[in-house]
């Protein structure tokens, strides 16, 4: 018994060390966000910065609040629109027994696997033609389209957990599909839907490539703003660090909420926890 406790203790120490490997780079960036330009270049390095020095954050926020707001609007809107499209479809693919539903589900899934870069120019031309280039609307549409396949598949994996008898019983009582969807399926899959929403939110929040193609000035998102900081001749690293910290807050907080369902989400619902 004693040997097994010692073994576990050693493994726990190793695990702590591993965790540090994945934590330290981010922590170093966080510390950097509280350093002045002098402290940034100091040798030996300033290990622990003065956390009351928040100038980097105030500079970044005052320069970028419109882009930050753009990011927030696009992310929230595309999350909501993705769910509005995906949830009924996922419900249908799970409970309607029609011919070709497996094929349809596979087709939806395969659109998720296609590389966005291959769609960028045609979409650019399409939105230019519609005069919607450099608009938040265009970004919401495209992010929604790229998120729907994911949302459909993962929601479907949660709908499948609903006992079919329950649906059957309501059908016999004469309930419409809309009623079953809104009053039974949605309430029973709240946790799953939250998982889908969080993933979709993070995907949209993290997106860079399409935003690079689509946004010129008005609709620039926060990642575009950050990458512009780095293309300047003289990089002000304190500012970049502060912006990186701001950008990282939502994914980090939301990952804590995902916990149990994270594997399921990352494998498009294939692996259940």
């Amino acid at each position: 018994m004693k040997a097994s406790i010692r073994k576990k203790a050693i493994l726990l120490i190793i695990a702590t060390f591993i965790t540090l490997i994945f934590l330290a780079p981010n922590l170093w960036m966080l510390f950097g966000s509280f350093k002045s330009q002098n402290a940034m270049f100091a040798l030996p390095p300033v290990w622990i910065p003065d956390f009351s020095y928040i100038k980097n954050f105030t500079i970044m926020l005052s320069e970028s609040y419109t882009y930050l707001l753009n990011s927030i609007i696009v992310t929230i809107c595309s999350t909501i629109v993705s769910l509005i499209f995906s949830l009924p479809t996922a419900f249908g693919l799970t409970f309607f027994k029609f011919k070709g539903r497996f094929f349809l589900a596979d087709w939806i899934l395969s659109t998720r696997m296609l590389p966005p870069v291959a769609a960028a120019v045609p979409l650019f031309i399409l939105f230019k033609y519609l005069n919607l280039l450099d608009s938040l609307f265009a970004l919401v549409i495209v992010y929604t389209a790229f998120n729907i396949p994911f949302a459909v598949w993962v929601s479907a994996s949660f709908f499948k957990k609903i006992p079919y008898d329950l649906i059957e019983a309501s059908r016999i009582e004469g309930a419409s599909w809309f009623h079953i969807f809104l009053k039974i399926a949605i309430p029973l899959s709240k946790g799953g839907i939250a998982t889908v929403a969080i993933f979709v939110f993070i995907f949209s929040w993290n997106e860079l490539l399409i935003a690079l193609f689509f946004t010129v000035s008005e609709s620039r998102t926060f990642p575009i703003f950050i990458s512009a900081q780095v293309s300047q001749a003289q990089i002000i690293w304190g500012n970049v660090a502060a912006a990186t910290v701001i950008q990282s807050i939502p994914p980090i907080l939301l990952t804590i909420f995902l916990q149990k369902n994270i594997v399921s989400g990352l494998t498009l619902g294939a692996v259940k926890n």
């Binding site: 170093w28 395969s110 870069v117 495209v142 860079l208 950050i226 970049v240 994914p251 294939a270």
Partner: protein, 297 residues
């Protein structure tokens, strides 16, 4: 019954139409554009040239073939590292899963997966900075190695990209394989113990066979991500030095949006698309199989 049918259609059709317009149409249009010589700035002046874009891309210039090679080299190296380290980490976290504190450690470990790839690139750009980077400082003071431009030399730049990529995604392989290890029935471990099997036997005869489908799933999902690798390259090396870290997605972006050569760019987009379709077909089949396999539920 008529209203029943309409209801069902209303559930499914809007999504299909949406995807057709915003997803399928663009991919087909890319195929069409790849047969033209066209500039993004002068769209009305495009003219048909057939396969010439592909000809130029694949046989007359070295950049795109290098980009394909680099993409797969980075994918292969990163995924191999991720599987090996991911498995070791999964084993460690599996052994200590009953200790409360290990949950907190695991949550922190998986953070990189969800972080904005752009930010991951920036974190490493900062760490690897030759003059003010912490990496240079440690290398210099501990090992006495002179700092150099890690992202500015071909081989170190390639290694850096692989390291950054694996750093972000090893935790993914870890939790996937951890989920796999959880499916191994406890009796099998007990039986192996009674038979006096050593750890190597347990690993090769019990663990690896039962997590194999998880490994496969992880490989395919990661391959899809690696094919579209863009953000980290964009922020750290921009494909450089020279074309040492040029990858397919970044090449396409550069051609289409920096040189405005959308004919050539679309041709390279179509080639990525074909490669993706092959991987996707495998992926969809695999996802279906894993999902249907009762043993994984």
């Amino acid at each position: 019954m008529q209203s029943e049918k309409i209801q069902k259609i209303l559930f499914i059709l809007p999504t299909c139409l949406f995807l057709l317009v915003i997803s399928i149409f663009p991919f087909l249009y890319s195929v069409y554009l790849s047969l033209f010589q066209a500039k993004l700035t002068k769209m009305h002046k495009k003219f048909f040239i057939g396969w010439e874009n592909y000809q130029v891309l694949l046989f007359e210039d070295d950049t795109f073939p290098t980009a394909i090679k680099n993409t797969f080299m980075i994918a292969f190296s990163s995924i191999t590292i991720e599987i090996i380290l991911g498995f070791i980490m999964a084993k460690i976290f599996f052994e200590i899963r009953h200790i409360k504190f290990s949950n907190a450690l695991r949550t922190v470990t998986i953070m990189p997966i969800m972080l904005t790839p752009l930010c991951v690139g920036l974190v490493f750009l900062y760490i690897l900075n030759p003059t003010l980077g912490i990496f240079s400082y440690i290398l210099d003071t501990v090992f006495g190695i002179e700092p150099f431009a890690y992202l500015g030399e071909p081989i170190p730049a390639k290694i850096s990209i692989i390291v950054i990529n694996s750093w972000q995604w090893t935790p993914f392989m870890m939790i996937l394989l951890l989920a796999g290890l959880m499916t191994v029935p406890n009796e099998q471990y007990e039986a192996a113990k009674i038979d006096g099997a050593n750890w190597f036997h347990v690993m090769t005869k019990i663990e690896i066979p039962s997590i194999l489908s998880f490994v496969l799933l992880g490989v395919v999902l990661r391959l899809i991500e690696c094919i579209r690798l863009f953000d980290i390259i964009y922020i750290t090396t921009k494909g450089g030095p020279g074309i040492a870290t040029e990858v397919m997605a970044f090449f396409t972006y550069r051609t289409e949006f920096r040189s405005f050569q959308i004919g050539t760019g679309s041709a390279s987009a179509v080639i990525i698309l074909i490669i993706s379709l092959i991987v996707t077909t495998i992926a969809v089949t695999l996802l279906r199989r894993v999902e249907r396999n009762e043993g994984l539920n």
